[in-house]
Amino acid sequence: MEQLLQHLVNGLVLGGTYALLGIGLTLIFGLMSVVNFAHGEFYTLGAYAAFAALAWAGLPFVAALLAAIAAGALLGALCERALLRPLRGHSIDTIMLVMIGVWIAMQNAELLAWGGVARSIPHPFPTAPLTLGPLNIAPLRLFVVLTAAALIGLAWLLIQKTRLGTAMRATFQDRDTAALMGVPIGRIHTITFAFGSALAAAAGALLGPVFLAYPSMGDLASLKAFSVVILGGLGNLAGATLGGLLLGVAEELGAGYVSSGYRDAVGFVAIILVLLFRPAGLFARAERIG
């Protein structure tokens, strides 16, 4: 029982970060129909930006987090303006290939700039865990999961409650009509891509100190983000959040009770089942299908 509780706590903490990765990706796909293979690289960028801000510039932790978010947003906006805008209207395959190129270019640039050796990102939290009866959780992880929840909440507010969010949703539903109604589609796309990338960078800056920062760290993050998005349904924000938590818990329980060697397989089996029985995602509403 104690073990089960600890597994659940671990799974939820892990799932919260998967969710943060997933919502950025799902937003970009949902609004722009761009399959962003470089998503994981923005995650890596966030981790290294946080490292530079903390270890070199000596900024406090929260400022470093903001710096990473800014770096992600900036590079995301740049990427959209320089590469995606000229290709708008091209087939999804062309754009996918371009994003694969961005992924490879960014990862190798990171390798060139930082070298292959993993870096440990300093953080101000005590390393001794908080203990609640039989449960242990590190203060840093608690901070990460709470910040992730706050960021997810902010993203939801932005999309549901602001004028910008309304314009984003209008673009998602029907781009041509939205354009006719005076929504500046170009700007909405730039903002969406920057926002999604900023969320990935935030995830990187949050998880970098929990794990380690290294150039290929984004590959695993990308994989998890895509899994989460498929679980939750493409373009579905709430679905990505729940999908993230679900994937985290499923992996944790699979590793704990089935076999740790097949940890990643558990997540993928879940995805195959979802694709077989609910191809639009677990949490797809009827109007999103098709």
């Binding site: 600890q6 671990n10 190798n108 070298g115 290294y214 150039p215 290929s216």
Partner: protein
């Protein structure tokens, strides 16, 4: 325009085709040695350190006038920490670069994936890091290993089991040929010594969150955790073990733990942990050839290479030195001649004496050297010899 471009290209091609022929006539070119290492991907740090060590060996040999009057040149390929890439890197080195011998390919899974190419083309490879028993048991006569297989490592630890106070052990290993082989080897040795063996858990090579495995291991009530993976994951396991209040003696196997890097990156979480290593750069004088070891550490530091890489870097030196010694004995740089000469190699590298004995199925034996094995402990934020080894 196009015509001129084509004719220029043709001229360039003809010139290029003539160049090497002209070169051969004047003086023999350098002796090429292929190197396959993980220079990117999850275990990139280790691969880059091995490369740095290999470059030191190359420069030392060339400074002494090369071998058989010819310079040594390294042709380095990245296997991206991926077995598939290791196989294609081997093929590229053999077919395109025509190297007569290779050193590689760090991880056991990568080495095993590259091995069929050696047999296909008949080119020997000196294996500098891989620990899985299968590397020398598959009947591939082109494989010569200077790193210890897990069984040899376990045997090296056997004498210290009581002194370490191991009564009930658990395992956590990377889910590769290396990790799986290590659990078998150390598990067998411990059972023979009457030690209880509890959980055997695995993690993917790129995995970063090991809380599930640690939560499970915590339930077994063991006193020691044998940890087999590269330094990046060891760092994460130590940190997450601390977060989970996992009170265990930790012993890492495989020699890729880089205790100095652990102290830097895992901090207090590394305190007290034991590490099996094959080079002790903290006290080079204690190595079989103290002078060589000291010179290697000095050269490494002089180049500005990170100190924490030395426990991997020496492998690169010893691997290249082994191949060059075989070339010297063979008197020429042909794959078959080098393979035959490797059996006659006998010299002392940074790790200690290197000399190959036959291993694997009769008639198709691979070469296996018997490397020196050491155990160190992290104490007060420094690397030290464990108490039971002190005089």
């Amino acid at each position: 325009m196009l015509k001129r471009l084509v004719s220029t290209a043709l001229v360039a091609l003809v010139v290029l085709a003539l160049l090497p022929a002209g070169g051969d006539a004047q003086a023999p070119g350098p002796i090429k040695i292929g190197v396959i290492q993980p220079l990117s991907g999850p275990v990139a740090a280790s691969g880059n350190y091995v490369r740095m060590g290999a470059e030191i060996a190359r420069d030392w040999i060339n400074a002494r006038g090369g071998v058989n009057g010819r310079r040594v040149e390294l042709v380095i390929e990245d296997n991206k920490s991926d077995p598939k890439e290791a196989a294609s890197a081997a093929e590229k080195l053999i077919v395109r670069d025509k190297v007569p011998a290779i050193m590689g390919a760090w991880g056991s899974s990568m080495t095993l994936a590259a091995m069929p190419k050696l047999e296909e083309y008949g080119v020997p490879m000196v294996v500098e890091t891989s620990s899985a028993a299968s590397v020398t048991k598959r009947g591939n006569p082109w494989v010569f290993r200077i790193s210890p297989p897990s069984e040899m490592e376990a045997l090296g630890l056997e004498q210290y089991v009581e002194k370490l106070g191991v009564k009930k052990a658990d395992f956590l290993a990377v889910n590769t040929d290396w990790g799986r082989g290590s659990i078998t080897a150390f598990g067998d040795m411990l059972r023979k010594k009457g030690v209880q063996v509890g959980a055997a858990e695995f993690m993917e090579q790129a995995a970063t969150d090991m809380n599930a495995q640690l939560t499970k291991i915590k339930q077994t009530g063991g006193d020691t955790l044998f940890l087999t993976t590269a330094v990046e994951q060891i760092t994460l396991v130590l940190k997450q073990g601390q977060e989970q209040r996992l009170a265990r003696k930790i012993i890492t196997t495989g020699g890729s733990s880089s205790p100095t890097q652990l102290i830097k990156q895992a901090g207090a979480a590394a305190e007290g942990s034991y590490h099996i290593v094959f080079f002790m750069p903290w006290f080079p004088e204690a190595m079989p050839d103290g002078r060589l070891a000291r010179a290697f550490v000095d050269e490494w530091t002089k180049r500005g290479n990170p100190f924490e890489g030395l426990t991997e870097g020496f492998r690169g030196h010893d691997g290249v030195a082994t191949i060059v010694e075989a070339v010297r004995l063979a008197g020429r740089d042909e794959p078959k001649a080098i393979q035959e000469a490797l059996w006659k190699v006998s010299f002392t590298g940074v790790n200690g004496p290197i000399k190959f004995e036959k291993d694997g199925p009769a008639g198709k034996e691979s070469g296996q050297s018997k490397p020196s094995i050491f155990i160190v402990q992290v104490r007060d934020g420094k690397v030290a010899l464990p108490d039971f080894l002190k005089k």
